[in-house]
């Protein structure tokens, strides 16, 4: 509990970070769920996410969005990420209207997500809260790097790669925007927020 939860950063920065996840419940409603999950992704794509993906296929930083949402299997987990709460509201409105029966999780600032749900007539059913990182925290990279790497909950975005990108931006070898796109590629699920990563990379590089 899990890959969209432990994103680190200030509330101001996190206010532009809303990953959505959908998965069928194994043994309850998963049979024939693939097309419903695909439709979920199609609705999300219509509203302009910064990223979108399927855990078994990959993200839009590697594949075409339509190829992804037309080939979703019953037992996968699909995701997308928005940098604007108004877009999340529009997605939830469409999902409620279509009544796909697909379990959906919206991660983000709980107050903001709660308000958004209320506007479309939904209520938060279950909440998973992060109690932080415990144990040998001296093994962790810097706070600036963690704010970027934790946007991929499967740890596919390596801290050394982020550090290299920051150095490359400082030296003028690349831009924060290009570096954010490069960092988004290893995040297979499509929850890495490139808008936020661009801001954080610029800040870390002193731009």
């Amino acid at each position: 509990m899990t890959h969209t939860l432990h994103r680190q950063g200030t509330p101001e920065s996190l206010s532009r970070d809303y990953p959505l996840v959908a998965v069928m419940a194994h043994g309850f409603n998963d049979k024939g769920g693939g097309p419903k999950l695909g439709r979920f992704l199609e609705i999300c794509w219509k509203h302009g996410p910064v990223n979108l993906g399927d855990m078994k296929q990959g993200s839009v930083f590697t594949y075409d969005a339509a190829d992804i949402y037309n080939n979703v299997s019953d037992t996968t987990i699909v995701e997308c990420c928005f940098d604007d709460l108004n877009k999340v509201e529009a997605v939830l409105r469409d999902l409620k209207e279509e009544d796909l029966g697909v379990p959906v999780v919206v991660s983000g600032l709980i107050d903001k997500v709660g308000e958004c749900c209320k506007k479309v007539g939904l209520e938060i059913h279950t909440v998973a809260q992060s109690l932080g990182v415990w144990g040998k925290t001296e093994l962790l990279p810097s706070k600036e790097v963690l704010e970027i790497t934790t946007m991929c909950g499967h740890a596919m975005v390596a801290s050394h790669l982020v550090e290299k990108m920051i150095e490359d931006i400082k030296k003028g070898k690349t831009t924060a925007e290009k570096a954010a796109k490069k960092l988004a590629k290893p995040c297979e699920c499509g929850i890495f927020n490139t808008t936020r990563a661009t801001e954080l990379l610029d800040k870390a590089a002193g731009k």
Partner: protein, 245 residues
Amino acid sequence: MKVDPEKCIGCELCVPVCPVGAILMEDDVAKVNEDECCECSACYRSEICAVDALVETPAKDMPWPRVIRAVLSNPRVESPDTRVPGRGTEEVKTNEVSGRVGPGFAGLAIELGRPGVGTRMSDVQKVTMAMAEMGAAFEAENPVTQWITDLKTGKLRDDILNEKSLSAIVECGFPIGKFKAAVERLREVVKQLNTVCSVVSAVKVSKDGSLATDPIFKELGITPRPNSKNNVGLGRPLFKFEEVE
């Protein structure tokens, strides 16, 4: 993961791509430290190698127990036990349908190795044993639970203890009345870990909109992060929680 030394041109581009720093340079060619490698395939999928020197072993061809590295670390690999990709568990993503976490109950998930440090299963066992001691109800549909040989002691299979993964989720739950003691026990056992863990609490929202764990965290001096993971109740058919209240 391996590097073909005949193909490698020593450009070093793959070195920073590894989430656990398991790719090293030796005699001007890249080499994977197989003991540290978590088989996540992040390097392979990055397509960073211009000469295709990275050699991936598909999970289906990996011997036991090495395959558990891929099951827990490679998001594309589906757990053969739970059929869920990622780290093999749906947890509360589907709670409105599965009814995993109901009223009067709190889920506790301890994800060892996260963020980005990795964990040996021997450290995972320290946590499973501590939680078993507190009477944890382990989530059956979770690969780590499948490797516990005795749910009363939390002991894992001996043959997996040295395996390493990017992370592994110990997923369990407690009646609300026992939750505080379980969190306190967890605080103690993490002092023995050689890694980090990201800790999660999960509860069904009460009818009045409150969370049953809030007063417990206040007592313990724990402030949950402001960004949470929120199941918005769109799944169907709905689990009838009232029947078990």
